[in-house]
Symmetry: C5
Subunit: 87 residues, 5 copies
């Protein structure tokens, strides 16, 4: 997984049917110091995350193991809100 920082939201009317009802967030992939590694990925939220939160992102087929996403065409999901990073 990678650490992410939620920076915004995406809205789309024309979309895959199985995205309906998913909250899609813009998330920068960051390192432990908050430096952006990959800007502006888009992930459905499965744990109540919001803009400003530090989160855990899972990529690829793992995203469809997250709550409510088993048949969604998604390659990324927010699976935790990070409380603390200790390095």
């Amino acid at each position: 997984m990678q650490i992410g920082k939620v920076t915004g939201t995406v809205t789309a009317t024309a979309k895959a049917e199985r995205l309906t009802g998913q909250k899609l967030l813009i998330v920068d992939v960051v390192n432990a110091d908050g430096k952006v590694l990959i800007a502006s990925t888009v992930a459905p939220d499965t744990v109540g995350a919001g803009v400003g939160d530090t989160v855990l992102l899972t990529h690829g087929s793992a995203a469809r193991m997250a709550q409510g996403l088993s048949s969604a065409p998604v390659d990324l999901a927010i699976i935790a809100v990070v409380d603390r990073i200790s390095t």
Copy 2:
């Protein structure tokens, strides 16, 4: 997922049989500000996108969860036309 900007089309006569009938678009992967992160990916459209549109791209096995692609040899698909990005 990542944000994409549709910039063109690809045509191919000699191709995998299961690509027949798919509209293949050239899409630059971009960040929320429109800066190109990965140039010239190629994705089938599943939501009525066209050149100039901002779209959502899904990678890997997730592409085959999109409408009409379950048995196609594709690793990328357009799954939404983006209306608004709020950051």
Copy 3:
């Protein structure tokens, strides 16, 4: 998918049994202008491509959806010869 330019061939005697009979081509991943993004990937051809051709490459498990590759240990395949890119 990504656009590729076929630049050569690979031969191997000691290899996985299920690679036997596959023509393995060296392909540079390029953008729509022909600039190399990833040099020297190796992909089996499934559509009659040859050195000098512009092709479409599919990555990951999608490669095994291509003709004749369902049980081969391959993570990349040539699935089309590109006739024209319009941007």
Copy 4:
């Protein structure tokens, strides 16, 4: 797989149910000389690794082949503690 150096830990209260009980470690992907290639990935430990250890990381669906992770939404796992690298 890639070589990793464990640098810290992550704690999260709001998280996917199937992450409960997993020890999540911060791991830098490094080369054989210890140079950081990808900073701050997050991986569950399956072999008793701790901060300061050099480990092997497996990515993607392979992570769910590791002990205890078959239904977890994870795309990375620590699958060995490295004793020695000989180059």
Copy 5:
């Protein structure tokens, strides 16, 4: 697939049970001219490769299609020893 150059070996005592008996090699991913693209990946050998050999690497779920790896937690495998690259 990508071309690799075997540069060393890894030994690990604490490891996933299904890695037992696998020879784990350090492999640099290189281009057709031998330039290093990704340093120090770690792959099980399935074709009798050794240090100094030029090999073919397969990534992701394809690695588990290689001989003897179907249930191993591996995301990379050596599937051929390259005899000749013609470009």
